[in-house]
């Protein structure tokens, strides 16, 4: 019992976080930047930040993750990090030769007051940025929000700093990816192609963090949204933001800068959210939904109905990030399951409001986000009202083991399984896979624990 000390009684805590259900902004910014082709993320802070983020992303993707750091020293933290960043920009362009450097700040550089906009402008004025190369930035203080906030901030930075309007509209739609896996981004592109809609997806980590074995270590893998594509997003007819927390801020910024109207939908996890995504995209592009997508939808519903008896009334605890939790909770409810305990370390009223709307269907559910919404609390709730399934990132395995609850790995980070980079959890087929995994979790347990006379061949 690794978590044997977790008491059942929930007592209010003063600021202390135990077993967090979030991490800090910069890693989100790093992940988003990896979704631009030829981009080297740069961490403006101590060396450790960059090392931790790269290690965590590497453990999650089992892929090399490249990023540079300003390597702050004591001097930098007294006199400011401008010299470090300027030197870094020079070094990076001359040695690692990226097309783009995407700088994000850290708690350290934010607190000493480094102004990334001013420093990157100075780099340009001083001729440290070669012709045709770019330095973009995002402010990502670790003491505000969570990793999701950092992702949103970098995506916003990408949109703001690359988009141009030429005055000539293009027949294309921007899809702004919320924090999702490379597999999910691949699926978005596949669905858009089937719909016959020309899109620009950004960021796009497919073919970056799920790169094939080629016998070479590609510093800049072939994937990622290109600069040309990013420049063109200001001319797109509209934007579709997938997720109100991680994607919408970029859509708003783009609308402000280039007057590209947008719509925000939930990340297409589960039937209802995928329906809304498909409808919004087809409507925006003025296309009909093709038969193959309709058939895919039909298959999902077919399994939902075939297996409805196994889902009925099953209680679920889940933790993770807002844009996944919102549609996932809805999907669980659509399957007649009971998501009764939900936490997310990511703060935000918008998130709270959306969850309240969805949870109207299950008034007894516990939901908390932001400060103290950690896995310690989730575990306490589970001790008070046990569940049949736990859904969340790898760190859920301690609770699952202690409480003997089936566990579905979902979210970030997943450090002990593979699959998330390769098999999507979004769209109709991704939702079908999710459904299969949930079902397997229940049935595997039943097979393992059923009494011999109740051990069933046909299920």
């Amino acid at each position: 019992m690794l978590l044997r000390h977790t008491p059942k009684e929930v007592i209010a805590r003063e600021g202390l976080t135990i077993n967090p259900a979030k991490t800090c902004q910069p890693i989100g910014a790093m992940y988003a930047a990896l979704g631009i082709h030829g981009c080297l993320p740069h961490s403006h802070g101590s060396q450790g930040c960059c090392s931790y983020h790269r290690s965590t992303l590497t453990r999650h993707y089992k892929e090399p993750v490249m990023a540079a750091t300003s390597s702050f020293t004591e001097g930098a933290s007294v006199f400011g990090g401008q010299a470090n960043l300027l030197a870094a920009i020079e070094t990076i362009f001359s040695v690692y030769e990226p097309d783009i450097i995407a700088v994000h700040s850290t708690c350290l550089s934010e607190t000493i007051g480094d102004d990334l906009q001013q420093i990157t402008k100075k780099a340009k004025d001083d001729g440290k940025i070669p012709e045709g190369k770019y330095v973009i930035y995002a402010s990502t203080p670790s003491f505000v929000g969570s990793h999701v906030t950092g992702y949103a901030n970098m995506v916003t930075g990408i949109a703001e700093q690359f988009a141009q309007s030429t005055g000539e509209k293009k027949e294309q739609i921007n899809i702004i990816a919320g924090w999702m896996e490379p597999s999910d981004m691949r699926e978005i592109k596949k669905l858009s192609k089937e719909l016959g809609v020309k899109i620009v997806l950004f960021p796009d980590t497919s073919d970056v963090l799920d790169a094939p074995q080629t016998g070479k270590h590609e510093f800049y893998p072939k994937g990622g949204t290109t600069v040309e594509e990013l420049k063109s997003i200001g001319d797109s007819s509209s934007s579709l933001a997938l997720g109100c927390i991680s994607a919408e801020p970029a859509a708003i910024a783009l609308d402000k800068k280039c007057k590209v109207p947008f719509e925000t939908v939930d990340m297409p996890i589960g039937l209802s959210a995928t329906d809304r995504f498909i409808m919004s995209l087809s409507k925006a592009a003025g296309v009909e939904v093709p038969d193959e997508i309709t058939a895919e939808r039909g298959r999902l519903i077919d399994v939902m109905t075939d297996m409805e008896q196994y889902f009925y009334g099953k209680k679920v605890a889940l933790f993770g990030d807002p844009d996944q939790i919102i549609p996932l909770t809805e999907f669980l409810l659509d399957l007649n399951m009971k998501p009764i305990h939900i936490v997310s370390g990511t703060p935000g009223q918008r998130f709270e409001k959306r969850m309240k709307e969805i949870l109207r269907r299950i008034p007894e559910a516990n939901f908390k986000n932001g400060l103290n919404a950690d896995m310690f609390l989730l575990h306490q709730w589970m001790k008070n009202e046990p569940v049949d399934l736990l859904i969340g990132n790898t760190y859920g395995k301690y609770i699952a083991r202690d409480e003997n609850v089936p566990f579905l790995r979902f979210g970030f980070p997943i450090l002990d399984r593979i699959g998330h980079s390769y098999f999507p959890n979004i769209g109709y087929s991704g939702s079908l896979r999710l459904l299969e995994k949930i079902l397997n979790a229940f049935m595997d347990r039943q097979d393992r624990e059923a009494l011999e006379e109740k051990f069933e061949l046909v299920m």
Binding site: L16, S55, H217, F219, G345
Partner: protein, 479 residues
């Protein structure tokens, strides 16, 4: 901006190597200008003079594999299993170090939980002392730990929280040692983090009773009990009739650390991290220390013999050591020959944290017939690299604080069949289509001790000889 990182031991080290006739590669692609001083290829004959200045502009912008001060402290203290480890700062530092090292405990597992004061914007503005105080009181009340370590992160160094005062106050109120660890990330390198950790440990040492401790007793320092390695080592020493007072930072216990000054010898592995503590204990308590390594037959045996020699008035200890070694080697040797037959002529690249480990690995690899074409470390010093140069074959590349571009380049150029490294190096090896062995904290099986040498050989064999590499394009597979 001056950066001591690059030139820590830069210039004298380089001059020394130049004097000794080591060629310096500089024409190759992918090496940062200014990193030339940190890359050597052992060549005979001509030396090339380079005008290296010590104080250079910072090497900001490097894709370094290194970490920070906090990381160093966290790594060292983490295995003290019955202590509370509270990270004072924004959430990231606690989140990224949550149970990521396989330092095994035989009892309490409080160290595997993640505690953070999770500082927000208001705390950064108004200070986090109150939050720290309340968090500590809550935690100590809830978990009743034997001691508490409070890690200072970057931001604490800036906002000026007086964590020493808070720790003192809480210690007084709760009656347990509450020890500040001054590990602000930017205040140096990982090595400075080791020092900060040692300083905190030193405050615990000497606070317990040493009654009844044998005059033939040791502390095992710098053994983190990854995959249970400290248990193996401890058993060897105990079989020799030596009392192990404390394993300090491997399956560590607060009470054992408090009595550590009762031991008569400190045995230090991973010298980079724990030498500070050994030196401090020598100064304060007159306890001598020796450097050892538990990797490979040669170094493992030497670790037992050296300790036995120290207790020379007890010849039975040496007899016992000899017996252990001969028994273990008799078992191990024929097994290693089997691996050697297959692995002979294969080439390895080593890039690990400390240089001392590199020495052992070179010897261990040689004992299974493999040569080393690249040897490097994140934190080696001048003496380490000089010793490496002496040990290595001609043509071996020696690197300090390397990066992925360099590593990939040298692995390909030198046609290595195996890379030994840590979490960030693993996927690079696999992308290049060669075998990999984690000799860092993600090892899954013990690699220390005699059994560890067998495990190491087996792991190397399994990875290098795996049929999967034939499908990798570089080895002739089709794209």
């Amino acid at each position: 901006m001056q950066n001591s990182r690059l030139c820590r031991e830069g210039s004298p080290e380089l001059e020394l190597l130049i004097e000794k006739g080591v060629g310096i590669m500089k024409e190759e692609i992918g090496i940062l200008e200014g990193r030339q001083g940190q890359v050597f290829e052992k060549k005979s004959g001509e030396a090339e003079q380079l005008d290296i200045s010590c104080e250079k502009t910072s090497l900001s912008g490097s894709v370094s594999q290194r970490a920070c001060v906090f990381c160093g402290s966290r790594v060292v203290l983490y295995p003290v299993a019955d202590a509370l480890h509270l990270v004072h700062g924004p959430i990231g530092c606690a989140a990224y170090t949550w149970d990521i090292r396989g330092a095994v405990s035989s009892g309490p597992e409080l160290h595997r939980l993640s505690f953070s004061t999770d500082l927000g914007e208001m705390d950064v503005i108004y200070g986090g002392e109150k939050k720290l105080y309340l968090s500590l009181i809550e935690l100590i009340d809830k978990y009743k730990p034997k001691a508490a370590f409070i890690y200072s992160t970057c931001i604490i160094g800036l906002i000026g929280d007086d964590i020493d005062a808070v720790c003192k106050k809480v210690s007084k109120e709760t009656g347990i040692p509450v020890l500040p660890v001054h590990s602000e990330g930017f205040k140096g390198t990982k090595k400075d983090g080791y020092k900060a950790a040692c300083t905190s440990l030193m405050k615990l040492v000497g606070t317990g009773s040493i009654e009844g401790i044998s005059p033939y007793s040791i502390n095992i320092l710098g053994e983190f009990n990854l995959a249970g390695e400290a248990w193996i080592i401890r058993e060897y020493y105990e079989k020799m009739g030596i009392e192990v007072v404390s394993t300090m930072t491997g399956d560590g216990r607060v009470d054992a650390v408090r009595r550590a000054h009762g031991a008569t010898l400190n045995v230090v592995q991973c010298s980079g991290s724990m030498t500070t503590l050994a030196k401090d204990m020598e100064e304060k308590y007159g306890i001598p220390y020796m450097r050892v390594s538990y990797f490979g037959i040669e170094d493992m045996s030497k670790s037992l013999y050296d300790v036995a020699k120290h207790f020379s008035d007890r010849p039975d200890i040496m007899d016992a050591a000899k017996e252990i070694v001969s028994k273990e080697v008799a078992k191990l040797y024929p097994e290693l020959q089997k691996f050697k037959k297959v692995l002979a002529g294969k080439k390895a690249a080593i890039y690990v944290g400390g240089a001392f480990k590199t020495f052992s690995l070179i010897k261990a690899l040689r004992s299974i017939g493999m040569s080393v074409v690249l040897a490097g470390s994140q934190t080696g010093n001048k003496d380490d690299y000089e010793r490496l140069r002496e040990m290595c074959d001609e043509g071996t590349i020696i690197v300090d604080d390397s990066n992925p571009v360099e590593l990939s380049k040298f692995v390909l150029e030198k046609e290595a069949d195996l890379l030994i490294g840590g979490v960030k190096e693993r996927p690079i090896a696999y992308k290049l289509g060669i075998g990999f062995c984690d000799h860092n904290h993600e090892r899954k099986i013990p690699l220390a001790g005699f059994i560890g040498m067998y495990n190491f050989a087996k792991e190397v064999y399994q990875s290098v000889m795996s049929p999967v590499w034939q499908f990798a394009p570089r080895k002739g597979g089709k794209i």
